[in-house]
């Protein structure tokens, strides 16, 4: 009789579903995956919808090129138009002002490799569209834009109004907005006393708490195959971001042109396939983990191979992985034992 009861109990535990809510939506121009653990389905759905609405608002606020409604540009689009016409200071929301200040600081720290002011260059290469086709770029236009050196420091912000001293500055926060969205989502969830969640915006992921008894596990995409090359655990507040040449690119004459452009040359970077950075929670008075996970992978991607470690250090990144154009893998010392390789016999070089 005892054994029957035991058997029954064991069978029943298999019947209960774990309290995991999972939603997938196309928001922010990309795929957003929200997992919330430990809340009722109803409450989780409410929380997720709120987050998605916030994302939608942010998307409308920051869209770099598309009019978001009847020929009305986003807040950022309007600012860009004002910059181009060298108008007098345009009023901007405090949130945008804070974003721009943060982005400027990061741009300086990265020695200009992270440069959201090169919107015109990005559009010249055709990457400010929803779908990319191969284009033979106007080399002269690129040269002129590089020469004009649009920089974040050309923007002056005072009393929530901004103007640019350089009319070639066009803001494209594509490498910043996803990370920023992750941070506001986490801030919201923490305010709502949610302990465990995992948010994925277009591949950029931030974790809150754990998945039940075990940490949240994240797969890292192989740059050339539809599988994950490794997994790693994301602890509370940690974020992971990857810049790659395999999501937004076009091929021309057998050569790949990806969307990550070196501001110094004006041309897409060709010596790397992907860079992944892992970021711990940051102190409140600095750029947050989400933003860093989005921003920091770009300078490392752009920098020449011998300077990659320096580029990482400049932004305080201790955990990163690079897969270069020849598919050689480089892993920073601190990240080596965080990665669980999914394919056997993976060769990689440890960076000091």
């Amino acid at each position: 009789m005892r054994y029957l009861l035991l058997l029954l109990t064991i069978l029943l535990t298999g019947c209960f579903k774990e309290p995991l809510y999972h939603s997938q939506s196309y928001v922010f121009g990309t795929l957003v995956d929200i997992s919330i653990y430990g809340e009722t389905d109803e409450h989780a759905r409410f929380l997720a919808n709120h987050i998605l609405e916030d994302f939608q608002k942010l998307h409308h606020q920051l869209h770099a090129w598309k009019p978001v409604s009847q020929n009305k540009l986003s807040e950022l689009g309007q600012l860009n138009a004002a910059f181009q016409q060298a108008n007098s200071p345009t009023a901007i929301s405090p949130a945008l002002a804070a974003m721009l200040a943060d982005a400027t600081e990061l741009s300086i720290k990265s020695n200009g490799l992270f440069n959201p002011a090169i919107g015109h260059l990005i559009s010249t290469w055709g990457f400010q569209r929803d779908e990319f086709t191969a284009i033979a770029v106007d080399a002269a236009a690129v040269k002129n834009l590089v020469h004009a050196q649009p920089r974040m420091t050309d923007i002056v912000i005072k009393d929530n109004a901004a103007y640019s001293t350089n009319p070639t500055v066009k803001l494209d926060l594509g490498g910043y907005a996803k990370g920023y969205a992750l941070d506001i989502a986490v801030a919201y969830l923490r305010k709502e006393h949610v302990k465990n969640a995992l948010i994925n915006i277009g591949g950029n992921i931030i974790a809150l708490g754990k998945h039940g008894d075990s940490p949240w596990r994240v797969g890292v995409q192989h740059p050339r195959q539809p599988t994950a090359i490794a997994t790693l655990a994301l602890a509370d507040g940690w974020a992971v971001g990857t810049s790659g040449d395999y999501q937004r690119y076009f091929m021309l004459n057998g050569k790949r042109y990806c969307h990550i452009i070196d501001p110094r040359t004006g041309y897409p970077v060709g010596h790397a396939q992907s860079v992944t950075v892992l970021v711990p929670p940051q102190p409140f008075n600095q750029s947050q983990a989400g933003v860093l996970s989005d921003v920091a992978s770009k300078p490392i991607f752009i920098e020449t191979p011998e300077n990659r470690s320096k580029a990482a250090q400049a932004l305080g990144i201790e955990n990163f992985m690079v897969i270069d154009d020849k598919a050689h893998i480089f892993v920073s010392k601190n990240m080596v034992n965080k990665l669980n390789w999914l394919t056997p016999n993976v060769q990689f070089t440890t960076l000091p």
Partner: protein, 162 residues
């Protein structure tokens, strides 16, 4: 020589004579517990027998490892925008037509695999992902808002960073 009808007649089992069985073959001595003495048993196991036995063990272990690893994806989940459009078993040959934001996409399911075979998007990244065959693998058509994911027992991660 060996003629089937003859044997069937010989095996007239309705009148089976018990004496046909040699009871000595199954004498109680065979089930004597003393017989489970290891030395007595292994004296019949020759060198080649041990080889076959060990090979058999490795074979069984290998089979458990490969076939029970859980990587074995059983289903493919097709999502359209923010809803689950359909979930199909991978054990079939099937073409699924999904109407997305941009137009019609065609998803092909073959024994144990699935892929985007046609898509109205210009970049065709989804089609270039090729065949998905393991649990956790996914292909996404962002412009058309359709995603494929293979579901198996053991998903190696909660979310994919790309």
């Amino acid at each position: 020589m060996f003629n089937l009808p003859r044997y069937l007649k010989l095996l007239n089992l309705t009148s089976l004579n018990p004496k046909l069985f040699n009871p000595k073959l199954f004498s109680p001595k065979l089930f004597n517990p003393k017989l489970f003495n290891p030395k007595l048993i292994t004296q019949h196991v020759l060198f080649g027998d041990w080889l076959v036995l060990v090979a058999g063990v490795f074979c069984v272990l290998y089979l458990f490892q490969t076939l029970w690893s859980g990587e074995h994806a059983a289903k493919v989940q097709i999502r359209l925008s923010d809803k689950i459009y359909a979930t199909y078993s991978l054990n079939q040959q099937r073409e699924v037509h999904v109407h997305g934001k941009l137009g019609d996409a065609v998803i092909v399911i073959a024994q144990g695999k699935a892929r985007f075979s046609k898509s109205p998007c210009t970049t065709q990244y989804c089609v270039h992902q090729g065949w998905l065959s393991h649990a956790g693998q996914a292909a996404i058509c962002l412009p058309n808002q359709i995603s494929l994911e293979l579901i198996g027992d053991a998903k190696p991660y909660d979310s994919l960073n790309y």
